[in-house]
Each structure stands twice: as C-alpha cells, then as structure tokens.
Amino acid sequence: MMIGPIGFAAPWLLVGLIALPILWLILRAVPPAPIRRRFPGVALLLGLRDEDSVSDRTPWWLLLLRALAVAAVIVGLAGPVLNPDREGNANAGDLLVVLDGSWAGAAAWPARADAIDRLLAEAGRNGRRAAILRLTQPKPVQFQSSEALRARLEGFAPLAWEPRAAFMAEAAAQLGEASFDTVWFSDGLALEGREALLTRLESRGTVRVVEQAGPVLALGPATLEGAELTVKALRSRAGPAQKVTIAAQGRDPAGNPAVLATVPAVFAEGAMEAGASLSLPAELRARITRFELSQARSAGSVSLSDDNLRRREVALIGGRDDRESLDVLSPLHFLRKALQPSADLIEGALMDVLPANPDVIILADIATLAPSEAASLQDWVSKGGMLLRFAGPRLAASETGRGADEPLMPVRLRAGGRTLGGAMSWGAPKKLAPFPEDSPFYGLPIPDEVTVASQVMAQPDPTLADRVIAQLSDGTPLVTRKRVDQGQVVLFHVTGNAEWSNLPLSGLFVSMLERLAVSSLVGRPAPEDLEGTSWQPLTMLDATGRVRDASNLPGVDGAALVAAPLGPNLRPGLYEGKQRILARNVIGVDRSLQPAAWPARIRVEGLTRPAETPLGGYLLALAILLLAADAVATLALSGRLTAARAGRVAGVLALAIIDMPGLPRAQEVPPAPAEQRSATDDTAAIAATRELVLAHILTGDRKLDDMAQAGLLGLSDTLFFRTSVEPSAPVGVDLERDEIAFYPLLYWPVTPEQPLPSAEAYAKLNRYLRAGGMILFDTRDADVARFGAASPNGRMLQRLAKALDIPPLEPLPADHVLTRTFYLLQDFPGRHNSRDVWVEAAPPDTEQVEGMPFRNLNDGVTPVVIGGNDWAAAWATDDRGNPLYPVGRGFAGERQRELAMRFGVNLVMHVLTGNYKSDQVHVPALLDRLGQ
C-alpha cells in the first residue's frame, strides 16, 4: 500500500486509526482524578455546593496530544517506509538483466550491483525468474531463481573490453524463445550493433534502460614528443568545463610503486578531449609504468606505457684520447651529436658502464679489450645487449679479428684495410650501394654526397654475405652484423668521425642508427611489421584498471595485437615480443568516446534512486515524546507541577537525553603520568642557575660529602662577606644523574672507595671541562704524600682522571693568575700546607718580559686544579660560621685557615673572571701593591 512516496509494511494496522475518535470520546468523558489538598480555609467552604455537576473536562489540546501520540504509535507499527522499492513489480513474467559489462561501467559497478541486487530481490519477492546477460561475454540465457542469481552477482562484474557488434549478434541469437521483460544496465557508451539487439529484446517484452549519469572518462595513450610526454583525456559527453588529474605511476628508485608525477588536464566547456603534457627527466620517464586518471577507476582510465616512452641508454666508449685534439676529431663526437636528441648517453670506462646495463654500447675504434672486459661484454651481449663497433686506425692496425671468428666482431678482418681516392691511390672514394631488402636499412634514401675513403676489409667467408647489411658500390661490406644469443654485434667498417668517410656527417647516419634501434623507436609498429610474430602477455588490466598477472594467458599473434579489437582473447595489457614490450591499451591513439544514444521510446533511468527509509522508528519516538509532553501537561493542568518539580523534571529529561546512546561523550582521558622527574629537574636547574652555586661531587662517603658541603658553605659565606660574589647554598651533585653544566666550580674530594663514573658521566665531565668548567681535585693527603701515585688517594685520582680530557699540567707557577685574582698569595694551604698544587701548564713559548712581574698568559681558565691540601676541611664551617675542623695550632693555624679561605676566594674569582687579572693593564697597580 502506498500513500505518496510512503509505503506500509503492515497496512492493516492502519485500521486502528478508526479507534481514535472513540478514544477521544472516552478521554473526554472521564474526569481527571481529584486532588487532595490541605487547606485551612476549608471551614469557609463548608456547605458550598458546585453549581455545575460536571467536572472539569480535559482540555481539547491535551486530548489532541494524546490522540496524536496514539496515532503515531499506530502508524509507526504499520511499518511506513519512505521511497520503498517498487520497480519492476508491474509484470510477473521473467526478468532479463542485460549488462554492457564493459570497462566504462567498472567505476560504478558497486552501485550498479546494488541496483541489480535490489531488482533481483524484488523479483524474488514477486516470484519472478531472472537471468543476467553480460554483453562482453554473452552466454545462452537461462532463467533461474532470482535468489540463486543474487548469490552469483559478483560473477558478472565488468570486463576490460567493450561489447562488439559480434557479441551483440551472438547475444541476440542466444535469447531463446520465451518472452520476458528486460532491464538494460548501460555503461553510457555508444556501441555498435546495439539497435539490433534492442529490437530483438523489445519483441519479447518491455525494455527499461538504467544508465549512470555523468560522462565516462578515459585516458588515451601517452606519446613522447621530444622530451615532452603528451597525454590525452577523453570524456563521453560534452559538458561543462571539468578538471581531471592524470597521475604517472611507476616505481621509485627503491622499487616501490609510487606516483612519479601528476598533471591536471582541463576539459574546456563542450570539449570531448583534454590534453596535458608533462616534461620529466629521462631517468624518471623511463620508470613510468602507466598513466592513470585519478577521477575514474576503470581500465579505460589507465594507459600502460611500453618501450615507446623509453629512451635507449647508450654507452659511448672511445679509445684513449691522448692527443690534444679538436672535438670534431674525436671518434665519438658525431655519435654524440647524432644520439643526443633521442637517447641517454653514458660515457666512461667499460667496466663502469656495464653495471648500468645500457641498451647499446658503442666502441669507437677500440681494438683490444682486457680478457675480463671481453668476458663481461660478451656476457652482456648474449643477454640482449647491442654492441656497435666502429673501425678506425687502431682497429685496422691491430690483430683483432684476424684469425678466428671472434665473438665480439661480426666478421673476420683482413690486415690493414684500404684507402680509396687518396693522393696515393688510383680509385675514387666509393659511394654506398642501395640497401638490400633484408637489411634493416632497407628503404633509406642514400644521399649522393656520401662517400667512403677508407675502410677495414672483411675476410671473405661463407657467412659473410648473411652478415652484411650495408655495402659499398663495389660490393665491399660497410656495415656487418652478427647475432649473439639474444644480442647482436654490429660493425661499421668506417670510423665514427669524418676521418674515413663523410657518412657520419649525413642524415643517413642518424637514420641508420635509428634503424639499428640504437636510438629510440618512435611510433607504433604497423600490423604487417608484426605479421607472424608471437607476443606473450606479461600483465593484463582488469576492468577496474588494476594490473593482473597474465602469465597464464596464451600468446597472441603480432598482427592481431596491433589491429584486432580487444576481447576475451586479446586483453589490454603488456605484451612481450622478441625485442620489445608492446602495450595494448583500452583506448587507442585515435579513439574518441561517444555517448550512448537510445531511441525515444525507451525509458532511461538514472542509476541512483532515493534510498528506502523506514519511518516506523521515528514515529514511535515521536509518540514517546508526545506522551512525555502529555505527562508534563497533565501535571501542569492538575496543579501538581510546581516550579521546583518542573525544574526536577527538566533535569531528569535532560539527563535522559544526555544518557541516550549515540550522543558523543567527552572521552575520559586518563591523567598523564606526572613527569615528576623532569619537574624536579627543572626546579633544581632553576635553583642552581638563579644564583651562583658552588658544587661538590658526591663520593658516596657520607662523612666526606658532609665535610665538602660544610667546606663549600664556609667558602660561600666568605665570598658573600668579602666579595661581590654572593653564592647561595652549595649542593652535592651526583655525576650519574645530575646536570653539572650549571656549576662553575666542582670540588671533587678523592677517596679510594668512590666508584668510577660511567662512560656517560665521563662524557658529561669532558663536555663540562671543555666548556670552561673547573674541577678542584683534592686528594686530602698532602700531610703524608706528595703529588703522584704514592698514596691510595693519588692512585685513585689517576684512575679517575684517566678518562678525563685534561691538558698537560705543571705545578702552580709563581706568576699564575691564581696568585692575584683577588688576594695576592704565595701559598695555597688548606688544612695541610703543601706547595704541590698543579694547574694547566702554560704554553711553552711564553717568556717573561724583562721588568714584568708575570708572563703574558691570557688564555683561558685552567680546567683542573689538583692538590692535596684538604681545602674543604679548612673552609668548613657550621651554620653559625664556626670552623668545624682544627687547622694548625694557635695563631699560625688561624692564619693558615685565613690563607685557605683566600685561596678559595682566588679560585672562585679565577673561575668567574678568567684571566682578567692577568692583563698587563693591572701591572702598575700590582707593582704598587707588591711594593716594587
């Protein structure tokens, strides 16, 4: 049952709508339930009578709401469907589905398959038998159950060719005698022989045509003109301007499929063709395997490229060019000029160019090859290479090809060669004889002015006649050729330059090279050229334009390959012949697309149709909403809906809506693990860099570390009180974990127990030293040992420092800048008072100038200071500034502690100011202070 575009699955349920007026009456008659109210004013009401014995009626709009809700439920349950599929139920006869089945419909095949599936499903519901006839591969029509056919639908996918008139006729012959209705799924292209088949079908029943809207797009074969590739896109219908993109597919250098280039092509308004040209490097062009239209996926939108696009790689190898000669005298000059426009040239040594596997190797006047070179070259020739040799003085003078038949020489040569028409000879220079018919040069016009003055002569031989492909007018061979397995060896008996003949100067030379397939073959072969040859399919295209392996397909005849139309026996793809690969594309060179023209009496429909939409769910949801509104309205009417309740109800409704499945919900993102480590690192870094901070290396010995900490604290306080350096509290750094770049000075107390730093820590330390940091090594044993490996601490220091980037050292010289950066010092005591303090050695070439108190040392800060005076113990103070460790005795001890402090101050000043105090500017003041 249909009402407008809406059909019903269970139309009888609609009878229930009759009950609506009854419902209306009942609802009207039943009064709403009484409300109980507490009301003190009831005393005033006692005895009042109702004037009207009828209670309040339910208001009409509430009734309407309820009636609508019930109506929505009834209609919803009746199963309304918008745009139900009702095509083809008109008749009950058999149904024939005719498919063009060509590549043109491949892109829209899924949609078409859906449509056919719907059609068959409908036919199945109506109990109709059906058959499918695919015109690209007609089979006898056999009607069978629609359901069975639906399962086999995928088997009727489009094929990569178009139905020919022969196929149409064949299909028409196989229609059988029964009458049936026809639905013809057309691909939108004009087909030969369609009229006849259409008439036959019409004689059996009604014919309906389903055709996709929009033009069919296709891509013509690419042609190479000079260095430019020209590609042509076609469309079947002239329409508005349209832009398509053509992609050149190929393999990247790693061998992976890739898009090598894209080029847009624009159909002008009303135009059926759009050309595009792209210019690619020859290297890239050679790797193109096919062109594709990005907008369409079909065999017609793919154009396979074959050897036509390839430029031959030619390796030119000349002899040793040891004379300072002009270019024109080079044996390769004319070859280079002749080949450059049409071939890619490689030059180099033979063994260098062979791995590049060139198509042709030209040896210009090279007589002898090293045995390994000869073997490689022979191997390459036998695999299909073409070796082109030119004669010349060296070849004539050599013993090559004298005796036996050499593999790399087409003929045996006689010694010497001959010279014609020279000053010392009688004959005139010879002209060329017309080319024999079996010669590859047959048909080339021979200019009169081409003459040959010298040549090498072939040894008469039983095989010589077969090998000559060009000769002089006196019958002596000019060009000879020998096949070696798949390759060939060709010898020009003259030089490649104009020394022996003027052939290289003529256009004939270029044509001959072309004929020899040295330069590219341009243009497609004619059918007669390929007569009798057999071509093996390499790959084939399916209808969607995908490349399939075709090695299981039989070979095809060469003439058919070029001329015959595509069909089951000749599929589009790549075919391999003896010397080359030919592509057979769906779209030929001069093909144009024509839209299908149907007679006016035939009904043509589009492929797309509005989808079936069941409406029942919407109606039932509407009913629920109406009932909810009714509940709210009833509450409001009876006064039970107070503002507070309304708020609550609204809240509940909102919750219900929010909770409905399908609504997007905020994803609960798990909190990212707090990167505490980096956070603490950052705070430590900020603390270390906000103020100057002195640092000591943590040795793992708790007591020692505490002592170092206390010592640096004492030094920091001293600096704070006496200088403008105001450090904050010192820190201990763990070499493995902490960043040390923030600290200008590291105090490193040495203890035999401490572990050696890891490689990373050493890398960090070296970076630190190179970047201007300073480490104060303190072996703390100057009371018992001197500098060196005498004590355990000394040995440990050596082990520790082995991996460090420490420059040569020297004992702190008396004029070192450390002696005067802040205080003037001669000693550097700590708890011990040893003069053994070592610093970076001064450059050996510095000399003290007469009258100057110190040398001119202006380079850098010593990266290490090494000593054993246990400075930290002397510096160490507690929080209140009291010294922690005894130093010396009495006043002398206090003096020593003071000097230790002064050394610490000088050290920090040295780190922070560098060699500022080493500048000679300070000399007068220093001299004054020193009392000199």
């Binding site: 009484p34 409300i35 109210r37 009301f39 003190p40 005033l44 009401l45 006692l46 309040d56 507070a644």
Partner: protein, 296 residues
C-alpha cells in the same frame, strides 16, 4: 535521678527550638525604636524628671543635697512616673496555623509566634509586664519572661482551630490576640465581650496565607483541614473562588465590627508581607490604645 536522659533530651530539643525564634524576634524587635512611652509626670520611677523646691511635708531624706548645695534653696529630685502595664497575649497554636502554600513562605503559626514574641520583647524592654491569657503564665517583667514566652510559644496545640482564652483577664490590662480566625467566631466574640467587661483593650492580628486570600485552585479537589477533621469535595474548585472570597470578606468584616464595638483594633497580615510592618502596626496599636482609650 529518675529518667534524666529523656528529660535532658527533651530539654535540649526545647532549647534548640528557642534561639532561632528568639533571635529572630529580638532582631525584629530591634527594628522598632522605643519612645513616647513615659508617663511624663513625676512619680515613682528610675529616670530623672525634674528638681523642685522643697515643700513643706517633704522629709529631709528627700532633699537632693548635691543640687541644694549649689544655691541657698533646697531642692527635691523628682523622677518620672513609670508604671508597668500588663499585656496578655494569645497566639493561636492550633493546627490550622501550621499551613503555608509554598516553600518560600513561613507557616502562619511561625509568623504569629515571631510577631508575638517580638512584641513581647519590645514591651518587656519598655518595662511592661507580659504574660499569656489564662492562668498558665501570668504577666511578669524581665528577660526571664521572654524565655518563658518563647518556651510556651513553641508548644504546638492539638485543636484544628484555635479559640482565644478569656479567663483570668486582669482588669484594665492590654491584650494581643494573634490567630487566623478561621475557626468559629463565637468564642472570639465571647472572649472580646469578657475582655471589654473588664476594661481590657487590645488588638486582633489576623495572620493569613496568601493562598487563603487568593484561592488559586481549580479542577476536582478534596479540601481537608490541616488537622483532618473537616473535608469538602468539589468538582470545580475554580467555581468556588468567588463565594469563598465573599465569605472571607464577611468574616473579616465581622471581626472588625466586634473590635469596633469593644474598642479593640483589628489588622489582617499576610505571611508574604514583611513581618516588620505587622510588628510596627502592633506596637503602634498597643501604644495608642490606652492613651486613646483614656482620652475617649
């Protein structure tokens, strides 16, 4: 030591009920400035009134020596006559007072207690004696009385509609009756008549809920009194509105007439109005009453 726990618990519960009512009543009372309440004549009292020359008959003990020392004459210090009045209150505790038509309003009984306690506080501050009608709490002065009043006000009554207590009226005292007067009017009339007989003047404050004034009901409804003793069913509540309002107006008119006849004053207060206006009216009415009565 018998059952201390229930006693204690009850006491706590009772005590917990006081502060809000008391505090609000104090707060409300604080909004009214006392004034014009003295007797404006010399007499027994605490406040200074005037110095007058010594007259014969005054005992020497009455002479204010400090003032007399400043001159030659002797002076007697007179104080303003302050006499405490007795005010008797009746605040309806019945079930019908425990009604409010929506959550934003006070119950009528709550408003009635608040106003009653507030006016009691004001009166006690003014030195009057305040008590309840009947014999339960005779009029007394002092802050203690406020607490006792608050205690008694907090006890809900059982009756569906309240009847004023008119026994043990002190002659020439003042009275305050606060109720919704929704019950039968006869007891009210009897009480007023008794009071008038004893020369007691006072005010009737009728506290009503706005719903009782507007009757915003529709549809089929069963109305029940708060105590549940009365019920009335109607099919169309909306139709009853006009007649209900008519009866309400009649009742108010009857109350006004009674007051007019007995020299009392009547005022109708709604719980959606500010309590302060009702308190101000009460205070004015009480202040005006006796002097007006004396003048009349």
């Amino acid at each position: 030591m018998s059952q201390p726990t229930p006693l204690r618990a009850r006491a706590e519960a009772e005590a917990s009920r006081f502060p809000p009512l008391l505090a609000r009543a104090e707060q409300l009372a604080g909004t009214v400035m006392l004034g014009e309440h003295g007797r404006r004549r010399a007499g027994p009292g605490d406040d200074f009134w005037q110095y007058r020359p010594v007259q014969p008959g005054d005992s020497t003990r009455m002479i204010d020596w400090r003032r007399s020392a400043r001159g030659d004459a002797h002076f007697v210090r007179e104080r303003e006559w302050q006499i405490a009045q007795s005010v008797m209150m009746w605040v309806d505790q019945s079930a019908s007072m425990r009604f409010r038509s929506n959550d934003g309003l006070m119950e009528k009984s709550e408003r009635a207690r608040l106003l009653g306690l507030a006016v009691a506080i004001l009166l006690i501050r003014g030195g009057e004696r305040v008590g309840l009608t009947g014999t339960e709490l005779p009029p007394r002065c002092g802050q203690e009385q406020v607490l006792r009043l608050a205690d008694l006000f907090a006890r809900p009554g059982d009756a569906d509609f309240g009847e004023p207590e008119a026994r043990a009226m002190i002659p020439y005292a003042r009275a305050v009756f606060i109720s919704d007067f929704m019950g039968p009017l006869d007891p009210v009339e009897v009480a007023l008549a008794k009071a008038a007989d004893r020369g007691v003047r006072g005010v009737l404050l009728q506290v009503l809920d706005p719903a009782e004034e507007a009757f915003p009901f529709k549809g089929r409804t069963i109305f029940e009194s708060i105590g549940g003793t009365m019920a009335h069913e109607t099919l169309k509540a909306g139709d009853l509105k006009d007649r209900y309002l008519e009866r309400l107006a009649q009742r108010k008119a009857a109350l006004s007439d009674m007051c007019h006849a007995t020299g009392w004053q009547h005022h109708c207060h709604h719980t959606d109005q500010a309590a302060q206006s009702a308190l101000l009216w009460l205070w004015r009415a009480l202040d005006r009453g006796p002097s007006g009565g004396a003048g009349a």
